[in-house]
């Protein structure tokens, strides 16, 4: 997955009504979202597709 450029990040933020305040902001936001996307993409487990999310564990345990 290619990294997003600062300009792409700026455009995505604008689509949400958000904005980096300056170039330093934009550079770090870009590093952060690229890191998250790459790390999440790399998560791999054969059981992942079968692991249906459950928000509150104790409800099922208490019956």
């Amino acid at each position: 997955m290619p990294d997003m450029s600062p300009e792409e990040v700026r455009a995505q933020l604008a689509g949400l009504g958000l904005a980096a305040l300056d170039d330093d902001d934009l550079a770090e936001v870009t590093h952060r979202i690229n890191a998250i996307n790459e790390a999440v993409l790399a998560l791999d487990d054969p059981d992942a597709d079968a692991a249906e999310p459950m928000t509150i564990f104790w409800r099922s345990e208490e019956g």
Partner: protein
């Protein structure tokens, strides 16, 4: 013994003195107020409510005189993270944006008051309980063991206040490690309860499905005492459990109990040498108490920080969306950048992270099937120097620092199980080291038993910072 020396004692010791009529709640409250003012430079408190605390102490004293003792917290001066509402006091969340006087108590605070505790005030925290901010609206939290070092995130003020004896006990909040982390770096005990065990009503949210409120104290006995007062079902938190609360009956014998060491928390450089050695020594102490130590594996352990942070930050981005649009300049720059980035996490990534949360829970529960409790270092390394920049100058730096920071605690907040930091030694530079004891859901008492048995055989919890 002078009044100031009294503040150095555990909450249980102070409670015993008061119940015997040998210590006045007013005298003790004044001693904590004086000490808090004397060590103001640590920036533990945001609001110190001396007037309100002394008024409550006088009432507690009057009740004591007529023999109306509410319980072990009666007359004990406590303080709470400024993430929770306390009637009549401002809730700042450690930031610039919110500063509203609360009209009612959070349930946990109401229960402390009902139990007779005296509320000294509200404690500093990382901005909005997120962690990672560089500038601090209410002063940089300073670690009492070395004032040039961090106190941990995000219940920093709670860690400082307990370690520096600026209150008898504190409440912190833990979404992704925010009780256990500061407790570890400040050399105190901190419990993240089972999710759903303590009401979240009146607490500002970070990630509702992982947010917890718990005690931070000098000893395990104190933590159990505070936990008993705040835990239990609350109809105002629809997701609080109705499971009954069993009293904690401390005993020192761990025979028949299996302690699982999470190998991935120690092996392959996941913890520094000091933390590893201290936890290994602690395991030997638990063996001396009768426990059998076994190895267990959590294959996804290293991913705990990533999964936990990315999920909770996505939730936080939603919570903060309006302030982020309307008042971005009022956030610390690191907080703003973190929230802007997490605003862009794709929906498909969020769903994938939820699935990996389930896999982490599966693995944690399987490990807790082989052992009664799990043990890891609570922090991989001792407290670092206070930061002046984020250091996130590349994607790789973010991966290394941001995700790695909470790896040791992430698997357990993702799994909703109770986990407690217990001090287990010091570095050569006198910085605290800590182990994390993890239990099955709603088995806080088992976690207390292990921590208490350890503290009966060691004296790390009796050391105080050289202030």
């Amino acid at each position: 013994m002078g009044a100031d020396e009294l503040t150095l004692r555990s909450a249980a010791e102070l409670s015993a003195l008061m119940s015997k009529g040998e210590l006045s709640p007013v005298e003790l409250t004044q001693a904590f107020i004086d000490r808090s003012r004397r060590f103001e430079r640590l920036n533990a408190y945001i609001t110190l409510d001396a007037e309100g605390a002394l008024a409550a102490a006088k009432q507690a004293e009057a009740e004591l005189v007529r023999g109306a003792i509410r319980g072990p917290l009666h007359g004990l001066p406590v303080a709470v993270k400024d993430q929770f509402d306390a009637k009549g006091l401002p809730t700042t969340l450690g930031g610039n944006i919110m500063n509203e006087v609360a009209v009612e108590d959070a349930t946990a605070i109401a229960r402390l008051r009902e139990a007779g505790a005296i509320l000294l005030g509200k404690l500093n925290l990382s901005e909005y309980a997120l962690g990672g901010n560089i500038t601090h609206t209410y002063g940089v939290p300073r670690n009492p063991w070395d004032e040039t070092r961090q106190a941990g995130q995000s219940s920093s003020g709670s860690g400082i206040a307990v370690a520096a004896s600026l209150c008898a006990a504190a409440l912190g909040g833990d979404t992704a490690g925010s009780i256990r982390g500061p407790a570890a770096w400040c050399g105190i005990v901190g419990l993240r309860p089972t999710w759903g065990r303590v009401s979240r009503h009146g607490a500002f949210p970070m990630a509702w499905f992982m947010d917890t409120i718990g005690p931070m104290t000098k000893t395990v006995e104190d933590t159990a005492m505070v936990f008993q007062a705040i835990a239990g079902h609350d109809p105002r938190d629809a997701n609080s459990s109705t499971r009954p609360l069993e009293p904690f009956a401390p005993h020192e014998d761990l025979r028949g109990l299996r302690v699982g060491v999470v190998r991935e928390s120690i092996d392959n450089g996941m913890s520094g040498e000091d933390a590893t050695n201290a936890v290994n020594a602690a395991l030997r102490v638990l063996e001396t108490a009768g426990a059998t130590v076994v190895d267990v594996s959590l294959p996804l352990f290293e991913k705990g920080g990533l999964i936990s942070n990315a999920l909770s930050d996505t939730e936080a981005a939603h919570t903060h969306r309006n302030w982020l649009r309307e008042r971005p300049q009022d956030y610390d720059f690191a907080t703003r950048r973190r929230l802007l980035a997490s605003s862009l996490i794709p929906g498909a990534a969020y769903v994938k992270l939820w699935r990996f949360r389930m896999l982490m829970r599966r693995d944690v529960m399987a490990a807790l099937g082989r052992a009664d409790v799990l043990v890891t270092p609570a922090q991989a390394d001792p407290a670092p120097k206070i930061a002046t920049e984020t250091g996130f100058t590349s994607k790789e730096a973010v991966m290394r620092q941001f995700f790695g920071l909470r790896a040791h605690r992430g698997p357990f907040n993702l799994s909703g199980v109770p986990a407690m930091s217990v001090p287990v030694g010091f570095t050569d530079a006198s910085l605290p080291l800590s182990m994390q004891v993890v239990g099955r859901p709603f088995e806080e008492n088992m976690v207390f038993q292990v921590g208490h048995a350890y503290q009966q055989r060691t004296d790390w919890h009796e050391r105080r910072p050289p202030l």
